[in-house]
């Protein structure tokens, strides 16, 4: 098991290296000179320009800048913001750091039970009206982009009915619509998989054996079938988390939530590249960590995976 975990950890390395190199290259080779933009009206002030260039490390050779970038990253230092001259990136994003992951985690926690329940019910009632209905709802849930659905839900539940606030981020009620909206496509995706896996499992010999020895249908489903459905579902939670990260960027923009996603988009338009790249790094890091955790869990529950990886 230790060897398996180490192997997985090693697999993370190229991804993180790619993220570091790409963000560095993107930072240095973006259109426009950041210092010139920062100086604005004071374009002729050579002393100020030299001071800013050395403060941002832009007066040194690119290779030195790269080594410096990596060394600072290792200490959790993302450099200085362009939009707020002299302010460290970490300070710009500090308050936002936990908003996106919390929304994503809440959505996942909501989506997993609902998705599995819907998928299992559809599979148990295969080819009935209930199954067809669920399958159609799932296609809709997967197809309608969450910002489009958000518009309908805000219009209906916030503006017409007044049950929830329209936008903002001051009370727990502000989190209801964002979390529900994020959970919908995730739950639909999980339900489709749960339905497919359940249909497959229900045809296995051990399910037939369980039925043949006279177990109640409830025991067959809960004890024998469902357990074997949960394992493959676990593996897709990493992929789903990637989708949720994308989702938080959109949802934070819709609901004006001051999370990492909205700051990332704002920074693109403000040409605050260090902040954008720091958030790209963080999101990549979150995603890689979740996938690593899923891999390790998968290896724990299914010994075959550990052996497969050894070859």
């Amino acid at each position: 098991m230790t060897a398996y975990v180490l192997r997985r950890l090693l697999g993370l390395l190229p991804v993180l290296v790619a993220a570091v190199v790409l963000t560095f290259v993107a930072n240095r080779f973006v259109p426009g000179d950041p210092i010139t933009i920062m100086l604005g009206d004071q374009g002729g002030n050579a002393v100020l320009e030299r001071k800013l260039r050395s403060e941002y490390g832009l007066d040194r050779p690119v290779t030195v800048q790269f080594v410096d970038y990596v060394a600072k990253l290792a200490h959790g230092d993302f450099g200085l913001s362009f939009r707020y001259p002299g302010v460290p990136v970490t300070q710009v994003i500090r308050n936002a750091l936990w908003i996106s992951p919390s929304i994503a985690a809440a959505a996942l926690a909501l989506a997993i039970p609902i998705g599995i329940a819907l998928g299992v019910v559809a599979a148990l009632r295969r080819n009935t009206l209930a199954d067809t209905g669920i399958v159609l709802v799932l296609v809709a849930g997967l197809s309608i982009p969450n910002f489009a659905l958000a518009a309908f839900l805000v219009w209906g539940f916030a503006l017409k009915l007044g049950w929830v606030p329209v936008a903002g981020w001051t009370s727990w009620r502000h989190a209801i619509l964002p979390v529900v909206l994020l959970a919908i496509p995730a739950a639909a995706y999980l339900a489709r998989l749960a339905r497919t896996f359940m249909l497959e499992v229900l045809q296995q010999d051990y399910v037939r054996t369980a039925r043949a020895k006279g177990l109640s249908e409830r025991l067959v489903v809960w004890r024998h079938a469902l357990r074997n459905v949960l394992v493959p579902i676990l593996t897709v939670c990493g992929v789903i988390f990637g989708g949720l990260i994308t989702g938080t960027v959109v949802i934070e923009t819709v609901f004006n939530i001051p999370g990492l996603g909205r700051i990332a988009i704002e920074s693109i338009f403000a040409r605050d590249y260090p902040v954008t790249m720091a958030i790209v790094m963080l999101f990549t890091f979150f995603y890689a960590t979740i996938n690593f955790a899923v891999d390790v869990l998968y290896g724990l529950v299914d010994p075959r995976i550990r052996l497969e990886a050894r070859r």
Binding site: P14, L136, V139, I144, P145, A151, G243, I245, T246
Partner: protein, 290 residues
């Protein structure tokens, strides 16, 4: 054909496919939606009731009615006309993305499978690393470097789409390499490029079509998302994602813009997904056997 012969002869090829396709209501519904969207997009220059970019400050935020079937936006532009042209913009972007991803993915996958060795390892590791980035993060990186716009959308979506196609192509070509007709071609002295393009490619095209048809819905949604965030299609060109964003601030008083664009976008993606799922179930031999 006599009744007896009809019983004996199993329909094959296209006739068989059409019979089973018509027997799948969800696929037919998807096909109808997609056909409607494509028709509107193709005919938009002629059937749009007004110029999609003409502003008219005398008629801003007009509600849907006789003069403007779906109302007007903040600049007095006709929403229906913008929806129609938006369909053309959206589908053109999606087609470009798929074309690039298919050409690059197929070429990379075939070459990797044929050459093996370091080139194979290089292509597959690159694909792995691309998969390790969430899609929107790739788009944000590209947008930071190129700035928002249609090229950013096409490049970033092609970047995240090619690895899947390359993996599929590689695995298909690897299994084809053991076929007798490939050995025969090698013995005849056929050049590798010719073997891949003339002998292997026709055999993997059906699988690629299925793969692409399942992907269209994703690409349309991703384009709309980027345009919604302001990273994609820019004014004055209309895009459904951009129209939803433009309508959000006026959702309380004039919801027609956002709700119309949201409906068009949602229904179109549902159509593509129903059609893609249907084609996959009908054409994928692994699923057929079950």
């Amino acid at each position: 054909m006599s009744a007896a012969a009809e019983v004996l002869v199993e329909p094959t090829g296209f006739a068989d496919f059409r019979r089973r396709f018509v027997g799948t209501p969800s696929a037919v519904l998807g096909f109808a939606i997609v056909a409607f969207a494509v028709g509107v997009a193709l005919l938009s220059p002629w059937i749009a009731p007004a110029d999609f970019s003409r502003t008219n400050m005398a008629f801003i935020w007009e509600p849907p009615g006789n003069d403007f079937a779906l109302g007007t936006d903040a600049l007095g532009r006709d929403v229906l006309s913008r929806l129609m042209v938006g369909a053309a913009v959206s589908l053109t972007v999606a087609l470009s993305v798929l074309a690039i991803a298919l050409v690059v993915g197929t070429a990379a996958g075939m070459t990797a499978a044929w050459r093996g060795g370091w080139f194979d390892a290089f292509v597959m590791r690159t694909a792995d690393i691309t998969f390790a980035f969430p899609d929107l993060i790739v788009a944000i990186l590209v947008a930071a470097m190129l700035g928002p716009g249609i090229p950013t959308v096409i490049l970033s979506l092609a970047l995240v789409s090619w690895p899947g196609i390359a993996r599929l192509t590689r695995s298909l070509v690897l299994s084809l390499r053991n076929e007798l007709f490939v050995d025969a071609a090698i013995v005849c002295g056929t050049k590798p490029a010719t073997i891949l393009l003339r002998h292997c490619l026709p055999n993997i095209v059906p699988a690629l079509i299925v793969r692409a048809s399942v992907g269209v819905g994703f690409v349309v949604m991703a384009e709309a998302t980027l345009s919604f965030l302001g990273l994609g299609v820019q004014e004055p060109l209309p895009s459904w994602g951009g129209m939803i964003r433009d309508g959000l601030p006026a959702l309380r008083s004039d919801p027609h813009l956002t709700l119309a664009a949201g409906t068009a976008l949602g229904v179109t993606i549902i159509g593509f997904n129903l059609l893609g799922d249907g084609l996959r179930d009908l054409l994928d031999p692994r699923i057929r056997e079950r």
